[in-house]
């Protein structure tokens, strides 16, 4: 399911260029990221967006980081 909601995400930057989401808030619940299953990037206009498929104990989510706006969005959801 596609959604588009700005959310709060805790992230570990590094070492190097690695970015690892650790938890995110959504629907008044803190979701601990158990695994980042896939990462990819794309461009929206001139803005690079980094996508993370992450799993918590209940489902699979797609988190998107807009490197230009420096915002995190929840953009996809499965298995909830």
């Amino acid at each position: 399911m596609q959604i588009k909601e700005l959310i709060r995400v805790a992230v570990v930057f590094g070492p190097g260029r690695a970015i690892r989401p650790v938890w995110f808030d959504w629907h008044n619940r803190k979701h601990a990221v158990l695994e980042t299953t896939y990462t990819w990037s794309d461009l929206k206009g001139s803005a690079r967006r980094l996508h993370f498929a992450v799993r918590d104990d209940g489902g699979l989510y797609e988190l998107t980081y807009d490197t230009s706006e420096q915002t995190w969005e929840l953009t996809g959801l499965e298995g909830n």
Partner: protein
Amino acid sequence: MADRIVMHVDMNAFFASVEQQANPELRGKPIAVIGRGRTVVTTASYEARAFGVKTGMNTWQAKQACPQVIFVIGDNRKYTHTSAGIMKMMLDYTPLVEVFSIDEAWLDVTHSLSIFGSAENIAYLLKSRIRHRFGITCSIGIAPNKLLAKLASEMKKPDGLTVIPPAEVSRILEQLPVKELCGIGRKMEQQLLMMGIRTCGELGRYQLERLTRKFGVIGERLQQMGKGIDNSPVVPVEDEQEVKSVGHSMTLDKDIERRQDILKYLLQLSEMVGRRARRYNVAGRTVHLTVRFADFSTIGRQCTMKNHTNRSDEIFNEAISILDTLGLDQPVRLLGVRITNLCYQQQQFPLFEDERRKVLATSAMDEVNDRYGSFAVTYGSVLDNGDKGSFVISPAWRPDGIRNVDVK
């Protein structure tokens, strides 16, 4: 061309493998990646293939073959990102990388052995890096040329590594059916069968004169293929021939009949063509229009203008004039617009004020769209077309350059 070492890398069930990696719930299950709307299976996982699910089936056929198949709507940006990453890895082993499609490439590693030891070693390194970074597998073939390397990569799937040494070529080809060779499709296979040619060995020994009489200039090429000879070089993207056309087509979500609806999609396609042409500074003089009807019959017409253009409005106007010459007796399923007769480095500022304004307006639109994404600003009449842009990865897709279509 003697003593070359060519590798062919073929990603296994590429789109499906990426989706299974991204979603652990799908791993080990029969899945079929489909497009949005009324589309067909683009890739089936090996688990689904075991039930007979194949690329090109519609969802109903796939469900008949495998009732438990899980349909996954493809995410093209995942695939283009992954493909570009893999092709970049390949360049660490040789600059001679020819991208054949989003999931296939050839590498000429002849001159890389002094660094990496052997072609097998390069293959193992590449396979392990792809698996480590993306979690997916590929099959690799190593042989003296592109034809045989591709054949070798097909021999063991998934996750295979097959080497065809030069001394083994004749033995392997002797009993190999001709259809196994890249470039021999079903039609050609039928024609060869009618001539009594079933295997590559038979093709290689067949009288050249009779092959040439039947197939013309490609007769000799066919005989060489039968012998496993292929002198075509591995051509890196920067050495590829300049593109001869820029085009986009779209299968509509539902068939349309009304002229005004057709025009909305033609304008959208013209804008996609014009924008890509402008981005890479090419312009075309001939506009082609393709229309596929509900019964899958397809017609294509073209029109050549006095001057080259890459302006969307001019391409659109030509497309309309072609459309008006066609008899639209039934609903339209697919539309395609393409420009050919290209010239590169097209930069001409019009003399007259009206035309100059149009060029400046187009340029302003491009700047906004470059910054905020395709169709951030566009023509009012295409606003209600639904999702706009390319949703299918063309076989001609490349990680860079004018063939790099931004798919959604």
